[in-house]
């Protein structure tokens, strides 16, 4: 009985040692992976910073104003002036859609084309 206990304990120690060894290596691998990802995040952030800087630089008001001036022929952009404001009621309502022709004397063509749609005055029937 006692020897059995010894054997079981020894086996348990071996098993736990193996498990700990494995866990250790897995952890190290995960840490290495995390570091790699962090490096990538860092690089991505650096890239993002450059892109944001470039965006801000390309959109600086001086440059946009010069571009608007250069391309005035095509775009016709100028500074916003007070007289460009309007009221909603100054905007015309959109024209109502052209009313469809009312068929008063439809011709039944179903016998010629078979299954095509046929227009009948007030609606469409298959």
């Amino acid at each position: 009985m006692r020897s059995l206990l010894y054997i079981v304990t020894a086996l348990a120690v071996i098993g736990l040692a193996f498990w700990a060894y494995q866990e250790n290596y897995q952890t190290q691998a995960e840490i290495a992976k995390t570091e790699q990802i962090n490096r990538e995040i860092g690089q991505a952030r650096a890239r993002l910073t450059v892109l944001r800087a470039e965006w801000a630089y390309l959109n600086r008001p001086d440059r946009l104003r010069d571009l608007a001036d250069v391309n005035f022929d095509r775009l016709g952009l100028s500074s916003l002036r007070p007289d460009q404001f309007g009221k909603v009621d100054q905007v015309a309502f959109p024209r109502p859609p052209e009313s469809e022709l009312v068929m008063t004397n439809p011709v039944d063509v179903s016998s010629m084309t078979g299954g095509e749609t046929v227009t009948r005055g007030d609606g469409v029937f298959p």
């Binding site: 952890t27 962090n38 910073t49 959109n59 008001p61």
Partner: protein, 594 residues
């Protein structure tokens, strides 16, 4: 285990036979047994002690070695927990109120040399001089061949320059990573942002520290890793700032002014939407301060905040407002400005020795009568005037969050005599920055509460201190509106925005005392729309002269006012203000009476 019997029969029988006491045998045997037991337990205890000491020795050995290792190796952060925190430990960005970038960090490299590792010093010096025109070949060669083991060559490199240096291919040229501060908008808001430079420098990194403006004021906060890179949002509006700078620059050139400043402030929150001082500079390449001459001639000088000037008649409205607030007068009270006014041995005269006769308080403002406000000031008294000026923030530097704000300390007389009270009532004898004036006008514009101006974006309106009653502020605003519709600022009318304001033209003081005859500071302090003010705009031109007429005209009405009007026309739509028809309040100013 076989135990020796204590009374072995053979010996007992033998002893009995020989008449000895058999008990002696037992005692003898018992003694031997006890000695054996004692020896055995002694060895066992010794063995245990040995094991215990070995274990203690091992334990202390392990701890000691570990401590030694920890003490003697380079400290390093634990691998698992270092994640993420390093990446963001950089200076926070600065943005405008809509999140557009005003200042940010940019990765770059610094170039340094270790001449001991250099292969071909002559060639390196020649090629470096070719890449960087500001470096001299002879000087580089002297540095390389001298005793120095290490020298910095360039603090910042562009990627192209770095590649070219790389192509030289000498092992003695090395790069250190750097973070530099970048202001992508160039000169825009230069005086607010200030600039940054390197603090402590190492090969692998360098501290970026603010040297002026918000960069310096918020230096610790911007560098605080706890921010985790959250940007600092200013109250400035990039678009508005750009438009204001352009209009002001045009106005400054057109009016032949030496410098100009403008402040645009939200009257309810105290936020500065735009603040400009011209001439300006590029914070990416901050010029060095002037060593000799007047510091205010340097482009680094912030006229809107640091420049304290006698801003002239723009102060008259405060005198009128205080007199009305104290119930000494109302807007219709008639005051004789024709009579000569002699205070402290000085005659107080009007502009160009005019005589306006009897005027109502409102007309004193409209016509800008010195004697009129002088008489009001005498009624108010020097003590109460001083208290009021203190309340309006005219006696302390502005609380704006840029480091230069402390440099804009107002100048006022030590002894506030009756003469001081009279001159201060029309803006002479007290020197303030345009920002002071804007904050004062904002107090009238928002209904009578003084709100501290700020450059940082605010959420919600702060609690201000009440300086005048609401109805006083309303009458003051109506007077300011009348100045534009009928008075000295007629060029200030912008269709749809009901501008109200007051001009101020003050002779520039000579450094040695007295005033220049032909140098003025022209100021227009305005609020719009006058019936429900949202913004206050102060425009100041330094030594303007308008030369379209026969004689050069220098008054604010001819110089600062048209510039301000153009500015309002440009900026108000950008601020989202719709032009609107002003309610008929001008009739109200004559009809209401109490």
């Amino acid at each position: 285990m076989i135990r020796t019997p204590l009374r072995p029969l053979a010996r007992i029988l033998e002893a009995r036979a020989s008449g000895e006491n058999p008990d002696a045998i037992e005692r003898e045997n018992l003694r031997i047994r006890h000695e054996q037991m004692r020896d055995k337990s002694r060895t066992r205890a010794e063995g245990r002690l040995l094991i215990l000491s070995v274990m203690f020795f091992c334990a202390f050995g392990v701890i000691g070695t570990r401590m030694g290792v920890l003490a003697s190796t380079e400290p390093s952060e634990p691998r698992a927990t270092a994640a993420g925190s390093i990446i963001q430990a950089q200076r926070a960005d600065i943005t405008d109120r809509h999140g557009r970038i005003l200042a940010m960090n940019f990765e770059t490299h610094a170039l340094y040399a270790q001449p001991l590792q250099m292969v071909d010093k002559k060639r390196v010096a020649a090629e470096l001089a070719a890449i960087f025109p500001d470096l001299k070949q002879e000087k580089l060669l002297k540095d390389f061949t001298g005793k120095r083991k290490f020298l910095w060559i360039k603090k910042k490199l562009s990627p192209e320059q770095k590649q070219m240096v790389h192509n030289i291919g000498d092992p003695g040229l090395l790069f250190g990573p750097r973070e530099m501060r970048l202001y992508p908008n160039g000169k825009l808001a230069a005086h607010v942002l200030g600039g940054a430079s390197f603090g402590r420098e190492g090969v692998h990194a360098a501290e970026v520290i603010g040297v002026a403006g918000v960069e310096k004021y918020f230096d610790d906060e911007l560098r605080d890793p706890a921010r985790r890179g959250a940007p600092l949002a200013l109250s400035l509006d990039l678009t508005v700032q750009a438009a204001v700078e352009r209009v002001l620059y045009g106005g400054m050139k057109l009016m032949n002014a030496k410098g100009a400043a403008s402040v645009l402030m939200d009257v309810n929150t105290g936020e500065i939407i735009s603040i400009v001082s011209l001439p300006d500079f590029d914070p990416n390449a901050r010029p060095s301060p002037l060593i000799e001459g007047d510091a205010s001639d340097s482009p680094l000088f912030n006229r809107a905040v640091q420049g304290v000037y006698e801003l002239g008649s723009a102060y008259k409205i405060f005198t009128a407002a205080q007199a009305m607030d104290l119930n000494l007068v109302n807007h219709q009270t008639m005051i004789d400005t024709g009579k000569a006014l002699r205070v402290g041995g000085f005659n107080i005269g009007e502009f160009k020795k005019r005589n306006y006769g009897v005027l109502s308080v409102a007309d004193i403002i409209v016509k800008s009568s010195n004697r009129g406000t002088g008489r009001l000031a005498l009624q108010i008294g020097a003590k109460r005037q001083k208290e009021f000026m203190k309340l309006m923030g005219f006696m302390d530097y502005t609380p704006l969050e840029i480091i230069e704000a402390k440099g804009g300390k107002p100048l006022y007389p030590e002894r506030w005599t009756d003469l001081s009270a009279v001159t201060i009532s029309y803006g002479h004898g007290i020197s303030n920055s345009p920002l002071h004036l804007a904050a004062g006008y904002a107090a009238l514009a928002n209904g009578g509460t003084y709100i501290k101006p700020t450059i940082v974006k605010r959420t919600g309106a702060p609690q201000g201190t009440r300086v005048v009653r609401e109805d006083t502020a309303r009458y003051a605003r109506q007077m300011l509106r009348k100045v534009v519709t009928e008075g000295t600022a007629s060029f200030g009318e912008v269709q749809g925005y009901a501008v109200g304001g007051k001009t101020g033209t003050a002779d520039k003081p000579k450094p040695r005392g007295g005033y220049y005859k032909d140098k003025v500071i022209a100021t227009f302090a305005s609020l719009f729309p006058a019936h429900n003010p949202k913004y206050v705009l102060v425009v100041t031109l330094d030594e303007p002269s308008e030369t379209s007429g026969k004689k050069p005209r220098r008054t604010a009405g001819w110089t600062a006012v048209p510039v301000a009007a153009e500015m309002i026309g440009r900026v108000a739509p950008l601020l989202g203000l719709r032009p609107e028809i002003e309610p008929g309040e001008l009739a109200g100013i004559t009809l209401t009476s109490n």
